[in-house]
């Protein structure tokens, strides 16, 4: 009776699974007791060890923040997109942002994993928590959110002072830009994230805030979502005075041409198309301030003479 035998086997296997499942209660990788909790941008209360010296970053902006607050030595894993600062490249890779290798992450024995694309990594987050690895989510929607990320990462890594100093310096640069463009007439800009299909920055994107501070008004500032797909005819009808193309960084030569619909638009014909390093505009980290300065200088050259 093959079927009965296989049924028995199946039952035995199921039993074995249950037993091992019960036995594999996650072994704590933490040294000492959990001494603090922090609330992350997803509203989760995250328990963290007091001293963190092994952290993995699953987003290029977080890797940049870790290094900028002086925590580079604590970084034990990063994604394939984390290419800045150059030192980051010597840190072990755990695949890309959306498909991190769980095995490799666990093998690196991190105490904390920093992530930014929380909604797409729910299952992954759960698996890490089962392994007693803390997951901290950052999700900035404006420049203040970026500063908060820097302070949070600083606090996690025990680099609170460095983070505070960094934020202070960055804020000063932001203020300088805002002062410079204060008297200028705001420029109505269209932010072209990609040409085909046409994607732009919406209400929830931190770039929309960045543009506002650079003395610009994004024509898509009220569009729901972070990076919505946008209608070509609406882009044309919005009559932007200028077009911003994030390109030249990780994008390479991608997105370096204005979308066909806007090629005959006043902004394009008057040469008011500005290419800004995409790494400074799509990564909500310290270099976003570089992006802010670059945008402001491009849009209001007179204000920076």
């Amino acid at each position: 009776m093959l079927s009965r035998t296989s049924l028995k086997l199946l039952f035995a296997f199921a039993l074995l699974l249950t037993i091992t499942a019960c036995r594999s209660v996650p072994k704590s990788t933490l040294d000492g007791p959990v001494t603090r909790t922090l609330t992350d941008d997803a509203g989760r209360r995250v328990s963290l060890p007091f001293k963190v010296d092994r952290v993995i970053s699953l987003a290029p902006n977080l890797t940049e923040i870790v290094f900028a607050v002086g925590g580079g030595a604590q970084l034990v894993g990063r994604t394939s997109y984390c290419d800045f600062p150059p030192e980051a490249k010597s840190v072990a890779e755990v695949s890309d942002t959306l498909h991190p290798s769980l095995e490799r992450v666990i093998a690196l024995k991190p105490q904390v994993v920093l992530i930014s694309t929380a909604s797409q990594l729910e299952v992954f987050t759960q698996q890490l928590q089962n392994q007693n690895i803390a997951v901290f989510v950052t999700d900035p929607h404006d420049l203040d959110g970026v500063f908060r990320s820097i302070e949070q990462v600083g606090e996690i890594l025990g680099k609170k002072e460095q983070a505070a100093t960094l934020v202070q310096t960055l804020r000063r640069r932001v203020n300088a830009v805002e002062q410079a463009v204060k008297q200028e007439q705001p420029v109505r800009v269209f932010y072209q994230l990609s040409a085909e299909p046409l994607y732009t920055a919406g209400r929830g994107s931190f770039v929309t805030d960045l543009m506002r501070r650079a003395g610009a008004i994004s024509v898509t500032a009220d569009l729901p979502g972070d990076w919505p797909k946008y209608s070509s005819e609406s882009a044309l009808a919005a009559r932007p005075d200028a077009i911003i193309l994030p390109t030249g960084g990780s994008m390479g030569s991608g997105n370096s041409a204005v979308t066909e619909a806007l090629r005959q638009s006043p902004a394009a014909l008057q040469g008011r198309v500005y290419k800004i390093n995409d790494d400074h505009l799509v990564r909500p980290g310290p270099r976003a301030i570089d992006g802010l300065e670059e945008m402001a200088r491009a849009l209001h050259p007179d204000a920076f003479k």
Binding site: Y199, S231, S234
Partner: protein, 341 residues
């Protein structure tokens, strides 16, 4: 006058009448849907400008004129070409394979074309002209694979064909996943949108290719419609009645693959068009391919124009992929058709 000759004449008249009616509907769809979009345009001035084929602005501002003639109209014409191509290809497959469920999307042929296009883009940096060639090759290979797999010892039963389609579809889907992972992150997003069927990337260079292939393909299959009618009796009987079965099969495979290839290269995999439209054509006009193939071609054009108008207006100024709309309309309609049959 002999009876068959009279019947032929009746068929011809029926074909001409239904095609003229559908062509008028298509023209109406092109004009009316040109008036709808995320940006409101003045109706009277737009109609006037359309009637003059863009030679006068009729008081439209330069922006409005550009929206109408540079963005909206090309997209609508491409939608027509894609819809016509897919519906014709579907009608062709259904007649040749004697299977009402044969459809480029469900048989994995669209996926074949998608893989071809992706390989063209990722490894060869192909442009608007070479992309359809790669897509055509992919579609043709997928068609041959499905056809081979479907032919069992007992011949190609409808069930076997669909199973073969499922296998080819899933296999090619994993190839697509594989190629996407090789792509850099900045392009993945646009590809996922394209894979669902998207017409927003319409460029004017695509249009002449897509329209030429759609028209030539529909004409070729219509000219072979008599043979396809006889083929529906079974390949043996058709052969005995003087149909060059081998030649017709090659023609339909090549033409249908070219049609699917060009539409996928232009707009990704827009599903269900090749299923729903030929079905509706046969339901309303009968199963004579001389009528149903040209009717499907025109009807498919109307169907995708309307679906894409929904895609670009329901959440305007944001957009949906048109493939989501055709599937939303197509799948329930198909279930209804199945239950009625």
């Amino acid at each position: 006058m002999s009876a068959p000759a009279r019947q032929n004449r009746v068929t011809l008249r029926k074909t001409v009448i239904s095609c003229v009616l559908l062509a008028v509907t298509l023209l109406l769809a092109v004009v009316l849907m040109s008036l709808v979009g995320s940006e409101p345009l003045p109706v009277r001035a737009s109609l006037c400008a359309l009637a003059s084929f863009g030679s006068t602005t009729c008081g439209l501002t330069p922006d409005q004129f550009d929206i109408l003639f540079q963005i909206r109209l090309p997209r609508i014409l491409l939608a027509a070409a894609v819809g016509g191509s897919l519906a014709t290809a579907g009608a062709g497959y259904q007649a040749l394979l004697r299977n009402p469920l044969a459809e480029p999307y469900l048989l994995g042929i669209s996926n074949g074309a998608a893989v071809g296009t992706m390989i063209a883009l990722v490894f060869f940096g192909a442009n608007e002209w070479t992309r359809p060639l790669f897509a055509f090759t992919g579609a043709l290979l997928a068609t041959l694979a499905v056809y081979r797999l479907a032919r069992g010892r007992a011949g190609a039963t409808p069930e076997r064909l669909i199973l073969a389609g499922v296998i080819v579809t899933t296999f090619l889907s994993s190839v697509i996943v594989f190629v996407t992972t090789l792509m850099d992150a900045t392009r993945i997003r646009s590809f996922t949108f394209w894979l669902l069927g998207d017409l927003s990337g319409t460029t004017k260079t695509m249009l002449p290719v897509a329209i030429t292939i759609a028209v030539a393909g529909a004409l070729t299959l219509t000219l072979n419609a008599r043979s396809l009618n006889l083929l529906m009796l079974g390949e043996r009987d058709a052969f005995d009645l003087g149909v060059e079965v081998g030649r017709v099969r090659i023609v339909v495979f090549l033409v249908a693959s070219l049609l699917v290839g060009s539409s996928v290269a232009a707009s990704g995999s827009v599903g269900y068009v090749g299923l729903v439209v030929p079905h509706l054509a046969r339901l309303s006009l009968g199963s004579d391919n001389r009528i149903s193939i040209p009717a499907a071609a025109l009807g498919g054009a109307v169907f995708v124009i309307v679906a894409d108008t929904l895609a670009r207006t329901v959440i305007a100024p944001r957009e949906l992929p048109v493939g989501a709309i055709t599937a939303l309309i197509g799948a329930p309609l198909f279930i209804y058709l199945l239950k009625r049959a």
